[in-house]
Each structure stands twice: as structure tokens, then as C-alpha cells.
């Protein structure tokens, strides 16, 4: 199948493009990028006028719950949500059941995703067996089956000695260690940011330094082992300062941030105890969110990820203290970035492409996608003017636990090509 | 108060004074003296009327009957429609067991206030008898209740409001009929 995307504003800083172009896709590849291309016979034309065409978006931190928790999400429903949100690639976290800690589990995800055919799944493997933080998982086996990176996401590796072993071991492969930073002796029972929110709502606090101490520790382990370190879902200004300092030293340290930590804060948690705002790490202070927004613009934060965390209704429709942590995010991430950052004039299109496509591919060790002839045709077409309200019906995800239900957003993906196959057509998932 | 217009004055101060004198005599006659008689005014306007009756009974008999105040807020059956923060409380500093209680109120209308007052009274003890004295009986009873002593019978319609003013609670003594827009307004 061949597609000609006509008249879209193409943004790809990798090739210095930020202008209107026609892009011709044939089979799995981009075959031509030019100012004007005539549609040949059998070529389907996609009208790109008024829209933006960018390398396919990548979310390097999602939970698809498959295998083990298919009642929350499956690789198929998660893939639908990803395509709907404009993504061509996602990295799935290993806290499945059984935990993705061996090559067979990696293979299962890749094969299942291929059958679903909607998105490239780049599974992450666990650092330790069953994510227990006690002994090394079969990291090499997983690399050979296609693991994109390694993480015990959901917990920090509590023992510094174990984390050192993990990072030292991973350093022999060209893979990044993604660290969920949390000192559990400080965050035990914590369900909201400590300080104002905890006092106001009468709940145990999850203090910022519960995260920052482990960021500091892992940066030192990065220095010691030479293993590339990526800090997951950074949530505090102080944590970001630690990452900035490490980068200034030239250490291979990167970090990511979620839209909910960028655009929400603890003050948004009202007496209604809306459990969709219960996250790990928790929503922090407004000043933290501000520092993170600055960081995503100035380059100190490398990627936007969603930490897409589907949970069934009964796991959220309950008392805050026993509700599950997390919000879904794949289908609101791009609209939130467009509404609050790009269209608001705080961020350029090329910076958006860096944090949502170029950098995560690089960190996942995925071949770069560039908008030039010969590159794989993983592409996202975006309408920055489409206005909509986030409702439960909007979501393709099996779960509806979004922190942004009710939000009025402007801009979303309308079309997605994944290796030349159209997975989203005019806002509708092609399955 | 919603808009209402004065229709007529039914009793002036002198007429009320005469009515109270008559009622005082009737109470003494009915009870063969004032011994064992207690007066209980229903808050708010029943109280000053009870006090005036007590003064007259004292003049005639030389015995001052005890006076109590009865708050019926918690006994009303219409409280859902007009709850009020309670500012007055029942104040009956004598035992009512075995007493001849004269319940005093300003206006007798549907009978629901008296029903509530009887319930409130019975929760305090077991009187020998309960009699009812009112300044005005305006008819329209919804319960089988009648007054033993009536200052004046005033036939009225539901759209009218019969207002009793009594010193010292009010500036003067008077009974007036007001035309009210509101169907079946309280009192």
C-alpha cells in the first residue's frame, strides 16, 4: 500500500525540516520527501493541509498488564489506545504476572503485539527476578529476545548493593537502566505528597526526598559502573537539579516526565478524594510542576512519557488510601502537550518531536525514524486545532482511570502510519 | 414577612384586657379556685398572655399560680418546612404531675401546635387535667381539639393571617387580620 501525505507541515529536527512538504510512503518505507509530489496510480492521498507531520511518537513508559492483569488492559487494547494517542512505539514495563524477567516473556509480548499489528512494542525487562530486588534477572537472555531496556518499575531496587550489581551487569549490553526511584522506608503508607496535601486530607505523606535520595544514589552508581541511567517519572524540582548536575558532569544520565506531573499538582486533589489523581510518585507542589515544565523546554528532561497505568473501575472507585496508584495517559499525552505547551507558545514543534519521538527511540536503542527517503515509515499526523472534551467514551483503553477526565483539550493525532501500515485514519483506530 | 396588607383590627387593647379578665374568672370558676392550677405558655406569644392571666388570677384569688414556658420546636410535625435554630427553651420549674395545667397560646387554628404542646407536656410528667386557653380561635381545625377558654372567635379564611400582638413582647396589645398572598400561612 502506498500513501501520499500532501501539504502537511513536516517537523523533523534530525534532518533540519520545519516546512510544508509532501511525503510519499510505499510499503514500509518513506520513498520521497519533496515540495510537491504527484500521486501515482493506486496511491492513497492523505490530506495534510493545516496539519503537522512528525516522526512516529514513542512512549517509553507504559503498563499493558499483559500477561496477568488482562482485566485492566491487554496488549491489543493498549495498542489501540497507543494508536489513538498518535504513538507508533511503546515500551512496556515488566511488572506483569508473571514478571517479564526472562526471554520467553519478552518474546510473548513482541509476538502478541505483532498479531495486534497496531504499534511496535519495545518490552522492558526486569532488572531482578520477579522484581523482588534480590537476584539478577536473565538480562542477557532478554536482550537477545529484544528487550529495549531494564527496569524494576513499580519499586525502587531497595538495596544499593543489588542496584550496583544490576547496573554493572547491564553495562556490558548497550541498554539503559530505567530507575523508579523510591526509598520505601520513607514512603511506607504514603499516598499523597507529604506536607500540605497529606495534612489537609489526613493521609500519610510520600516525601520528595523519598525519591531524591534514590536519584542521588543511582547517579553515583552510574558514575561507578558506567551504566547508562534513565530516571523514571521525575516529579520534583530537586530531583531534576540532581539530574542536571549529573548531565553537566557528562554522566550518561537522562530522565523523563509525565503529563500529570507537568500539568497537575497536589492542590488539584480536593476533598472529593478523586482517586484518579493518586499516583506514584504523587502529584507534587505547583512549584515542582513549574520546574518540570521549564526542564522539558530547556532540554534537561529528555522525554515525555505517560506511565499509562490502567486500573479497573473497582480498583479506583473506592477509598483513596486503598485505591491503586496511577492514571492512564496514552490518549491524552499529545493533546495535553499541544494544549499547554506548543499551542501556548511555551515550546517549539521541533522540541516536542525531540521529547516525544527522537529521544525515546535513542534511549530504547531503536533505529531512528527520520522524515527522509529510506527511513521506516513510522509517522504521526497531527491536527493542532481539533477541540474535544475528555470523557470515558473517548478512550480506547480498556480502563478509564484518567486524571484528565473532563479536561477541554485542543489538538490530537488524526493519522498514524506504523511501518507504512495505517493504524489511525482520521482519528479512528484501524483494526 | 411576605407582602401582606392589614384588613381589619379585631380587638384593641381594651378588648383584650376584658377578654383576659373574663378568662381568668372562668379558670377560677372551672377549677374552683386557683389552688393546683399552673399556667404554661406556649412560646412565644403564649407566654406574655399566661403572665397577664396569672396576674389577674392573683388579684382575684390572692394566690399566684406558677407559670412555665413551653418550647415545642422539637415536637412539631411541620419542622421539615421551617426549621429554626432554637433560641428559647422549655422552662417549667415546678412539677406538673397531678397539676391542673392551663396551656396558653395566642391563636388556635389547625390544632397542630396544641397537639405538639400536649406531647411536649406529657413528656414532662402526668398532669391531672390539661385545659386550653387562647386569645383567638380562628377555626379550620385539622385535629379533634377545642379550647376551654377563648378570648374571641374570629372566622377567617386560609389566605388571611390572624396576628396577635401582646405587650411586653410587642409594642401594643391588638388582634389584627392581614391578607396574605401565601395560602395557609403559619400560625
Amino acid at each position: 500500500m502506498a500513501y501520499l501525505i500532501k501539504g502537511a507541515h513536516v517537523v523533523d529536527p534530525q534532518v533540519g525540516l520545519d516546512d510544508v512538504r509532501d511525503v510519499l510512503v510505499d510499503g514500509k518505507q518513506i520513498v520521497e520527501v519533496a515540495e510537491a509530489i504527484e500521486a501515482g496510480e493506486g496511491v492513497e492521498v492523505i490530506d495534510g493541509a493545516g496539519k503537522y507531520l512528525v516522526p512516529g511518537l514513542v512512549d517509553m513508559h507504559v503498563h499493558f498488564r499483559d500477561p496477568g492483569f488482562e482485566y485492566k488492559e491487554t496488549i491489543y487494547t493498549g495498542s489501540r489506545a497507543a494508536a489513538h494517542g498518535g504513538f507508533t512505539d511503546v515500551a512496556t514495563m515488566p511488572n506483569t504476572d508473571p514478571v517479564t524477567d526472562n526471554g520467553a516473556e519478552i518474546r510473548y509480548q513482541i509476538d502478541t503485539a505483532r498479531k495486534a499489528g497496531l504499534v511496535h512494542i519495545r518490552p522492558m525487562g526486569a532488572l531482578t527476578r520477579e522484581e523482588k530486588g534480590e537476584s539478577l534477572a536473565e538480562i542477557g537472555d532478554m536482550v537477545m529476545e529484544g528487550a529495549s531496556a531494564f527496569s524494576d518499575d513499580g519499586h525502587g531496587v531497595q538495596s544499593a548493593g543489588m542496584m550496583k550489581t544490576c547496573m554493572a551487569y547491564v553495562s556490558q549490553f548497550d541498554r539503559v537502566v530505567c530507575a523508579h526511584c523510591e526509598v520505601e522506608s520513607l514512603t511506607k503508607n504514603g499516598v499523597v505528597n507529604s506536607g500540605r496535601a497529606a495534612t489537609r486530607l489526613g493521609m500519610f505523606g510520600w516525601p520528595p526526598f523519598g525519591e531524591e535520595l534514590e536519584i542521588y544514589r543511582d547517579i553515583e552508581l552510574c558514575r561507578s559502573t558506567g551504566c547508562a541511567l534513565h530516571i523514571c517519572h521525575i516529579s520534583t524540582a530537586k530531583g531534576l537539579e540532581l539530574v542536571k548536575a549529573a548531565k553537566a558532569e557528562g554522566l550518561p544520565v537522562t530522565c523523563e516526565v509525565t503529563p500529570h506531573h507537568l500539568f497537575l499538582c497536589e492542590d488539584d486533589i480536593t476533598d472529593a478524594y478523586d482517586t484518579n489523581l493518586k499516583m506514584n510518585p504523587p502529584l507534587r507542589k505547583a512549584s515542582d510542576a513549574k520546574a518540570l515544565r521549564d526542564g522539558i523546554v530547556d532540554g534537561s528532561i529528555d522525554c515525555v512519557v505517560t506511565d499509562h497505568a490502567p486500573h479497573a473501575k473497582h480498583e479506583k472507585d473506592c477509598e483513596w488510601e486503598i485505591a491503586f496508584f496511577g492514571t492512564i495517559g496514552l490518549e491524552t499525552s499529545l493533546p495535553l502537550m499541544l494544549t499547554n505547551m506548543v499551542s501556548a507558545g511555551r515550546m517549539s514543534w521541533s522540541r516536542l518531536v525531540e521529547v516525544m519521538a527522537i529521544n525515546p527511540r535513542r534511549l530504547l536503542r531503536v533505529t531512528p525514524v527520520k522524515i527522509e527517503a529510506g527511513s521506516q515509515a513510522d509517522l504521526t499526523l497531527i491536527d493542532p486545532t481539533h477541540e474535544f472534551v475528555v470523557t470515558e467514551d473517548y478512550f480506547q483503553s480498556k480502563s478509564k482511570n484518567s486524571a484528565f477526565l473532563g479536561a477541554h483539550l485542543t489538538g490530537c493525532a488524526t493519522d498514524v502510519l506504523k511501518a507504512g501500515k495505517r493504524t489511525l485514519a482520521d482519528g479512528v483506530v484501524v483494526a | 414577612m411576605e407582602q401582606a396588607t392589614l384588613k381589619a383590627q379585631i380587638m384593641d387593647a381594651a378588648a383584650m384586657e376584658r377578654a383576659m379578665t373574663r378568662i381568668a374568672h372562668e379558670i377560677i370558676e372551672r377549677n374552683e379556685g386557683a389552688q393546683g392550677v399552673v399556667l404554661v405558655g406556649v412560646l412565644r406569644r403564649g407566654v406574655p398572655i399566661a403572665e397577664r392571666l396569672a396576674a389577674k388570677i392573683t388579684e382575684i384569688e390572692g394566690v399566684r399560680p406558677p407559670i412555665g414556658k413551653l418550647d415545642i420546636s422539637f415536637y412539631r410535625d411541620d419542622y421539615a418546612r421551617q426549621i429554626m435554630p432554637v433560641l428559647h427553651a422549655t422552662d417549667i420549674m415546678f412539677p406538673i404531675d397531678g397539676a391542673d395545667v392551663v396551656l396558653v397560646d395566642d391563636v388556635l387554628y389547625t390544632g397542630r401546635t396544641v397537639r405538639a404542646a400536649l406531647d411536649a407536656l406529657m413528656d414532662l410528667g402526668r398532669p391531672k387535667t390539661v385545659q386550653l386557653a387562647v386569645m383567638v380561635d380562628r377555626g379550620h381545625r385539622e385535629l379533634p381539639i377545642r379550647a376551654d377558654y377563648v378570648g374571641k372567635n374570629v372566622p377567617s379564611s386560609h389566605t388571611e393571617d390572624v396576628r396577635v400582638s401582646v405587650t411586653p413582647l410587642d409594642e401594643r396589645d391588638a388582634v389584627e387580620i392581614w391578607e396574605s398572598k401565601q395560602e395557609g400561612s403559619a400560625q
Binding site: 488510601e321 | 421539615a80 432554637v86 427553651a89 410528667g125
Partner: protein
């Protein structure tokens, strides 16, 4: 009429609301303490469910008595007897009970925010009988009643709340309510018991009871959850008593007219010495009586506003 439909926390109450509750409670006093029938038919025909998801004998009995004094029909369900412990969700439990035509829920819960969640699953009125570490508004009202009975007013009083503030729903409700009524609140606790963000309450904070005890009109001692705390936040019962306990020696330094309160149950010999608990300054038994009166007032004012 109160400005709120449910009684969930004291932060939502205006000074006028609180005054109404205390005044109404006061008018119930002669009824509850009279020789005749100690009840009124004010809530006759109303159905109240006491849903106690966490055991609490005192608060439950106080509510039950208040309900009987108002002639309401009430049933009490405990965590052990309800199916909440059998894995049924809160929403399911509430909807099931709600189908029985309930007018009011009184809720005691281990988890913060439970009463608020219940309001989302029923049309009935909800009173928070204590939720987790969050709030205990009916306790605050009885405390205010007790204090006002002694001083005749609340504004300008200096009140020290002493003890495990970090885990205290009593403090969570009492401090804001006292502030609303114009009292000055000082939070006294060891650092490991202090609230996370005292600026939320806008209160003075100190670790030293001895520095403030002479200035206080009310010394409010909180119960320390012994079983939970020893070794974790304080070293021992003995050390806590020595540093923060209300001893006879400390009691003697209080202002002549100052009073002592405690929400009960007391750990005699820990936060309060036995002789002090029974001394003339102690208002602990007055608080119990005030509990029934103020709970009657809250139920009467909230249910009375309903058609």
C-alpha cells in the same frame, strides 16, 4: 439551617454554622437531663444507619443515644457484621443499604475520605463519625460546646492541643473549628508527632509543653495510640509521660480558670496522670454529655432541612 448538606469536615463550617450547632445543643440540655421522658419526637420516622467500619464503642453509643433521644429509627452496622470485610466494595455496601430508604448515614471509617465517597453513592445525608487520620467533626463540636459552657465564649481563648497530632483526626477537626471561632491554637508534640504542614492550620507549633502551659485557657490532651507508637515515634511510655504528660506539677502551673479536656479513652499515667484526670479542672465527663447534645443538634439541623 446549616450551610452544608453533610457534616464531613469542620473546614466547611462557618462560624454561624458552629454557633447554631452549639446553641441547638444547648436547647437539648434540659430535655436530656430532665426527670420526665428524656426524648423528643423531632426525628420520628427518620431512618439513620450508623455504619462503623472501624470499631468505636464510645462514639457509636453516643450517636445511638442521640438518635434515641430524637426518636429516630436507627440501626448500627459494624465492620465485623457488614460485608465490607468480605471484600464487597464500599460503593456496593452503600447502595445496598441505601435501597432500604435511609435518611442519614453516620460513618466511622479507618480510611480518610470514606464519608465523602459515601455521599457520591447515596442521596442520604452523611455525618462523618471519624475518618482515618482526616477529621472527626462531631468530636470537635462537643469539645467546643464543653469549652464554651465553661468560658461562655470561644473567641480569644488560648488552646493547646497536645500529643500525637500527626495521626490525629481529632486535631484535624478541632484546630480549624477553634480557629473559625476566633480561638488561638498551639500545637504541642514531639517532632515525630507534629503535623506535616502546620501552616495548613495556621497554628503556632512547639515541642515544649512547659513553655506554654501557663498561658493556656484549655489544655487538650490527645490519646497516644500506644500499641502503634512505642519505639517507632517515641521511645517509651515513661519518657513520653515525663516530657509531655499532664502531671499534677504541670496542672498546678495552669491558669486559675483553665480547664483540661481529653477525647478519651485515656491512657492514665501516659498522656495524663490519674489524679489530673479526676481533678476539678477536668472536663472529661462534661465532654461525654456534650457529645450526646451536639450530635442531637447536628442530626436535627441536617435532617430538619430535608423535605
Amino acid at each position: 439551617m446549616l450551610s452544608v448538606r453533610h457534616l464531613i469536615d469542620t473546614n466547611s463550617l462557618t462560624a454561624d454554622d458552629i454557633t447554631q450547632i452549639l446553641d441547638t445543643a444547648k436547647s437539648f440540655d434540659p430535655i436530656v437531663n430532665r426527670k420526665g421522658i428524656k426524648k423528643v419526637p423531632a426525628l420520628r420516622g427518620r431512618t439513620i444507619v450508623n455504619l462503623f467500619l472501624e470499631p468505636s464503642t464510645r462514639t457509636l453509643k453516643s450517636f445511638e443515644l442521640a438518635e434515641k433521644r430524637l426518636s429516630a429509627d436507627s440501626i448500627s452496622m459494624g465492620g465485623a457484621t457488614s460485608s465490607v470485610v468480605k471484600g464487597e466494595s464500599l460503593a456496593d455496601t452503600i447502595q445496598t443499604i441505601d435501597a432500604m430508604q435511609v435518611d442519614m448515614f453516620v460513618v466511622r471509617a479507618r480510611l480518610a475520605g470514606t464519608p465523602q465517597k459515601i455521599t457520591e453513592n447515596t442521596d442520604a445525608i452523611v455525618i462523618n463519625g471519624g475518618d482515618g487520620k482526616h477529621q472527626h467533626p462531631t468530636q470537635a463540636m462537643l469539645d467546643l460546646y464543653t469549652i464554651r459552657e465553661h468560658f461562655g465564649h470561644l473567641d480569644g481563648l488560648k488552646v493547646a492541643i497536645v500529643g500525637d497530632l500527626a495521626h490525629s483526626r481529632v486535631c484535624g477537626s478541632l484546630a480549624p473549628a477553634l480557629k473559625t471561632m476566633g480561638a488561638d491554637v498551639t500545637l504541642v508534640a514531639p517532632p515525630t508527632f507534629q503535623v506535616g504542614d502546620p501552616s495548613w492550620y495556621g497554628c503556632e507549633q512547639t515541642n515544649h509543653l512547659d513553655d506554654v502551659i501557663e498561658d493556656m485557657d484549655v489544655v487538650y490532651m490527645l490519646r497516644v495510640q500506644l500499641e502503634r507508637m512505642e519505639g517507632a515515634a517515641i521511645p517509651s511510655r515513661r519518657e513520653y509521660n515525663r516530657l509531655y504528660g499532664l502531671s499534677l506539677e504541670r496542672e498546678a502551673r495552669m491558669k486559675p480558670n483553665a480547664i483540661i479536656c481529653h477525647p478519651g479513652p485515656m491512657n492514665r499515667g501516659m498522656e495524663i496522670d490519674a489524679e489530673v484526670a479526676d481533678c476539678p479542672r477536668s472536663r472529661i465527663l462534661n465532654q461525654v454529655n456534650a457529645g450526646v447534645l451536639t450530635r442531637m443538634a447536628e442530626m436535627y439541623l441536617l435532617l430538619g432541612g430535608e423535605e
